[in-house]
Subunit: 632 residues, 2 copies
């Protein structure tokens, strides 16, 4: 047990052999496929036949009735209930940060591409019957499913006892708010879920470990046309512990054994830097084995354990990366350096105080992890695993026209003329059709305001970060408007001609009114925008702007700007400009500015307005601002 092999001295083939996982024999695979095929062909009768033959349990209804669940809950020791809830809470605290991001991007001018994450409709959680009800497996699968918002979560578990399923497991389900439990296991449970037979729902995705039959059946149904998705390729559990001379031998031994006691086929790998450490640990293993109820199982697993002696952190990292362990425990001084260098591992336990046992039950991260080297391409079960994404494309006529040359060219290159036609028709017709033909909502607006004093056109696009083109005939005002666009992260085109021979008043006022109207129009139904914005950049000048896009116009300006003009821009027009904007945007705008230098104070006000606007118009969700934010 724990006989060491030397990494440095070994050639590549020997190194591969050191890290080889135990051979798995595929007798279960063929048997499982046979069961699945029989159930695909024979439906309910075949399910009952196998359930009866293999488990001796084929009741009229595989579903555990509500009374049995309630009774199991009532019979649960309260300390056990507390432990289950405490573990579930920690798992929830960790997983709540997960989930696919939903977002929208303007990929071409006028083309908005979105991604939306939604839960899978029906998921089945397979909870195996080990030596005892695997409550922790239920917690690890149910919590992320619930966080993903899965509307129907069903539990399947091999039959045990008169209630159909072990009462502790039923009680745990009840504590987690789940009430749909079926007493059926093995490949027949998987096939029943894949086909929706024998009273079980057709599952869109099947989660959970199980014995070799279950694993084989899951992989097989997933490979069939229209078959359900499955979580992870499952195999025997495994741990790699990397320990240095300072590692506590009792801790390391307990970690090795808590892996070994799982299953005779569990794999235990120890990596040390010196023989003395190995010996200390091996002695501790022997000692602890004496007190272990499942010592027989652990001894079998320890028999094909491996110990590797290496010489450096780099070698230790190479070994871990080559093995890609499900669990990696780091009990060495330079643990954090290894955390950075290990690229492939399901879960890493850093230092003396984070045993794998904690992760198996209650630390927070999921314990359903990739085995057999699958950590090279897979992580453990996540909230994302209970979700799927849908992409959504929306384009305006202009957007279609913008994409068309690229699409048509590539379609021609691939010889798909029908694709080119579909795009070309849009392009030609976009060019030909009048502008008032409706398209999908875009957060743009084009406004013109023409009076005997001014003639102003304004275009805004709230979802494009420039470039802007601004020309009002008043240089400093152009600069201010550009500050707004730039700091708001939007695109603004303004072309104004006004009676500047009289003064700047009409032009500034009308530009602000038109810009406000355009912003108001572009905001549309305000779906997804933040309702309030504010900002305060620092300088010798301090300027703050607060915006409420609620629809009620109100302007408040606090501050005394010294002097009369900045460039050709009359400072008295600053409050006026914001009043005009507030009025036409139908927004409440508060501005406060203090400072000494008029140039700074004016510029600070407009810049702050831009920054506040950036926040106010940002799409934060697919929802209206008054409702709770949640992914659609």
């Amino acid at each position: 047990m724990l006989e060491p092999q030397n990494w440095s001295a070994a050639d590549a083939a020997t190194r591969r052999a050191m890290l080889q996982r135990p051979e798995s024999t595929d007798t279960a695979g063929a048997a499982a496929r046979e069961i699945v095929d029989a159930i695909y062909a024979g439906g309910e009768a075949a399910v009952r036949d196998y359930a009866d033959r293999l488990d001796g349990y084929a009741p009229a209804d595989f579903r555990v009735d509500a009374a049995a669940i309630a009774a199991a809950r009532a019979g649960l020791d309260e300390a056990d209930a507390e432990a289950i809830l405490a573990a579930a809470d920690a798992v929830r605290r960790f997983h709540v940060r997960q989930g696919y991001g939903s977002y929208s991007v303007e990929t071409w001018p006028g083309v908005t591409a979105s991604r939306r994450a939604t839960p899978v409709d029906v998921v089945a959680l397979y909870v195996p019957a080990g030596s005892a009800p695997l409550v922790s497996t239920l917690i690890m699968l149910a919590i992320p499913a619930q966080l993903a918002g899965v509307p129907r979560i069903v539990i399947v578990a091999p039959p045990a006892g008169p209630q159909g399923v072990d009462p502790v497991l039923l009680a745990a389900a009840s504590l987690l708010g789940l009430d749909e439990v079926y007493a059926i296991g093995g490949a027949q449970a998987v096939a029943a879920l894949a086909t929706g037979s024998a009273g079980l729902p057709r599952a869109d995705k099947i989660f959970g470990p199980g014995n070799a039959w279950v694993a084989a059946a899951k992989a097989y149904v997933a490979s069939l046309p229209g078959g359900p998705a499955v979580d992870l390729p499952a195999g025997p559990s495994e741990v790699m512990v990397i320990a240095d001379a300072n590692a506590d031998a009792a801790f390391v031994a307990s970690d090795l054994l808590s892996q070994a006691e799982h299953d005779p086929s569990a794999q235990v790998m120890l990596v040390c830097f010196d023989a003395a450490t190995r010996e200390r640990i091996a002695a501790e293993v022997e000692t602890q084995l004496m007190g272990l109820p499942r010592a027989d199982i652990a001894r079998q697993a320890m028999r094909h354990s491996r110990t590797i002696l290496c010489e450096s952190l780099d070698q230790a990292a190479d070994i871990a990366n080559a093995y890609a362990p499900e669990h990696l425990i780091l009990q060495l001084g330079e643990a954090e350096a290894l955390v950075r260098r290990v690229r492939h591992a399901g879960s890493i336990f850093v230092g003396a105080w984070a045993p794998e046992a904690a992760g198996d039950y209650a630390a927070g991260p999921n314990h359903t992890l990739p085995t057999g080297g699958a950590a090279r391409a897979h992580g453990g079960v996540t909230v994302e695993a209970f979700q799927k994404t849908t992409t959504i494309l929306r384009a305006s006529k202009a957007g279609a026209a913008a994409m068309a040359p690229t699409v048509e060219r590539l379609a021609a290159l691939e010889g798909l003329a029908g694709h080119a036609t579909a795009m070309r028709l849009r392009r030609e017709w976009a060019q030909a059709w009048p502008d008032d033909v409706s398209g999908p909502r875009l957060r743009t607006s084009a406004r013109r305001r023409k009076t005997k004093e001014t003639d102003i056109t304004v275009f805004v696009d709230l979802d494009r970060d420039g470039p802007s083109a601004i020309s009002t005939g008043i240089g400093y005002f152009d600069h201010m408007l550009d500050q707004i666009a730039r700091h708001a992260g939007i695109a603004v085109n303004i072309d104004a001609s006004g009676d500047l021979e009289i003064d700047a008043h009409h032009t500034i006022e009308d530009v602000c009114l038109t810009l406000g109207e355009a912003l108001h129009e572009a905001l549309g139904d305000k779906r997804g925008i933040a309702r309030f914005g504010f900002e305060l950049p620092m300088d010798e000048t301090r300027a703050g702007v607060w915006i409420d896009l609620s629809g009620r116009p109100f302007a408040k300006f606090e501050g005394e700007i010294p002097g009369e003009r900045v460039g050709e821009f009359p400072v008295e027009m600053v409050p006026h400009a914001f009043r005009s904007l507030a009025e036409s945007m139908k927004a409440a705008i508060h501005v406060r500015v203090e400072g000494e230098n008029a140039h700074h104070m004016v510029e600070g006000s407009f810049k702050a307005f831009g920054r506040a606007l950036r926040q106010a118009v940002r799409i934060e969700s697919e929802r209206l601002p008054s409702t709770k934010e949640f992914l659609e």
Copy 2:
């Protein structure tokens, strides 16, 4: 062609039949598995044998040499190059927002659980040879792989022409910065990648569509022990178009045909609300077919197309959800209402101006999408598909002790005594060991300050959102400190006893000094924190606080609070409190408050401080604040 069936009149079985996908025959499956098995057994010789037999191409080196790629790039039409780059840019703009989130959470006091996303090491992109080089497939796979940071991206493509691979595809690879291309296709390519034979690297994950043999080989190698991961279950492409009476018939017809021209087995579904719309569209399909080079293929596909007449938006949504189409095109007035109701679809194209052709090539979203109803549980290819997650657990001694009762209880419940031992050893020894044994960094601090005037203990935890326990003997001050904790979203325990018989001054001052020290200590090296915080809640009172945690203490208080006391709290102590905090936190703190009611003004100041602190201490990345944010 497009003969309608009526949804409303149909029973459940008929409805299922309407939505049935064409039967797939699994002749390819057995053949592909045979090839894979032979290559697993025979290695390079078997690869060469199949490559020669099936494609007549088995060179000394399957890899396309650099000169051939350079020549292909040089020979590419510049307009084609521009289109390829423009499409790649749009795809990049969309996908850049994707990727698993990396984060850390304190799941128990003293236990930090993290998730880290890293790229898969070696991915293979299978680019099929259709009627022409499928440049778009390469773009759709290469861009997310690059965004995920995959270090080794290899392309495999069926042999074509003297360069080994079609020069347009080689040129596209070159444009995308990829230079590792192998001229080998079919199941033999998949098996070579799965085993790392015949000069191909062993791929951790294989992406890309292909014919039935490739799809079957991918599914099979993924099911083998230690086999590579694969992207999606692939099947014939399909589209569902939902069109109302206002839909443009030419647009709809072009969308149906651009699906049908892909493949005789492509499935085309049309859902209409009235027969006249169907007739207009059917006539347009006939017209457009006349001009289509691939009309033969399209006619075959249209032969098993289906048209369903339904009566309402609800029915249309039911049909789409039951079918779970790869592509869903919505050409109806209420398109947005349907977007919200459709739960299962790979990609949705909204309105007249967003044809599927655009999505196939250049709109931005991925065109590798779930077929055959897999959209019930899968999304298309994402950046996440090129990543994997690793969870990392770090605990202090106190953290181990905190988790232990729950872990030990659950381990006992599951009969795994070794697990309980691993946890118990930590708990017992954590209780026994001295405090100066190092543990992982936690953003907590415990400080005591004892003078002849006061005795104060403060504990803060920046990563736990309460509960707090505060007792200073000054009721209103407790309330203010609680406001800070609550609004900062942190946990603060304060126990102070001071010379209140004299007055509150010493106690307030010393509590603030100690709290500031604790915050300073808990912030540690400020890894990942935002450097500036500010906040301004509104009320009759307006209070603002700006914090710079830069290490240079400075306090500025602007505001006149009327009266002398709020409860037992002397208002003159408000500026003093912030000065003490600034000093001991080594932070610049600016406070400005205006209003009328002293209670509001004091409370507003502390509340704003809490809010500002919340932003300032929030971990935004794993990096120091001065470096660019990036996932570890």
